[in-house]
């Protein structure tokens, strides 16, 4: 799963029948620091609550369809959660040492 920002909506009247009622949003993928990274994708809104401007996380590939009520649908990205908060530590600049503090 990756972070994304909803930047638009897509309306399609004519579509595969089992996609009826599915809301499509344009999602800009974000990097770990919530900055835009890569090309925007069209994602189905599996939480049915996401809207433009919102920070979300989405799942790609076969698992996207698993997010929908009808799971055998032609979908390759789905919004599966609305993000309330992201806490990410800054990238360590020095060559990272593997953690050994857990015994």
């Amino acid at each position: 799963m990756h972070l994304g920002r909803v930047i638009g909506t897509v309306v399609a009247t004519e579509k595969t029948p089992n996609l009826d009622g599915v809301k499509f949003l344009i999602v800009q993928p974000l990097n770990r620091d919530s900055e835009p990274e890569g090309k925007a994708v069209i994602a189905a809104d599996a939480v049915a609550m996401a809207g433009p401007g919102e920070l979300i996380y989405f799942v790609g590939s076969r698992e996207a369809a698993q997010a929908m009520p009808e799971t055998f649908v032609p979908i390759d990205h789905a919004i599966v959660g609305i993000v309330d908060q992201v806490h990410v530590e800054p990238v360590p600049r020095a060559s990272a040492k593997r953690s050994k503090d857990r015994k």
Binding site: M1, H2, L3, N31, R32, A46, V47, M49, Y57, V59, S61, R62, E63, A64, Q66, A67, T71, A78, V80, G81, I82, V83, D84, Q85, V86, H87, V88, E89, V91, S95, A96, K97, R98, S99, K100, D101, R102, K103
Partner: protein
């Protein structure tokens, strides 16, 4: 499976039901030698990993659902192990 370092958390209230009560961790992929490989993933944590720890990421849906004990659900990336040590002779893999 891939090596990654836990670098943060994601908090979400509205989500697919499979993520209810689950911890979501932001994990930066690592090379076998412990450097950042570029890229990250948001993964469900089933081993109680802490930020800064090196972990094992499973990025495959069927295995993830098996761990969760469900037959369906949009789950794919998972933290499935906490790495104690890696011995690697290669420097260009990853």
């Amino acid at each position: 499976m891939k090596l990654a370092r836990v670098s943060g958390t994601v908090v979400s209230t509205f989500n697919s039901p499979i993520f209810d009560e689950q911890r979501l961790l932001v994990c930066d992929y690592l090379t076998p030698t412990g450097e950042l490989a570029g890229g990250y993933v948001i993964a469900v944590d089933v081993v109680s990993a802490a930020p800064g720890e090196t972990v094992l990421i499973l990025d495959e849906g069927t295995g993830a659902r098996q761990i969760m004990g469900v037959s369906g659900g949009p789950i794919r990336a998972m933290v499935v192990g906490i790495v104690d040590d890696v011995t690697s002779e290669s420097t260009d893999a990853g």
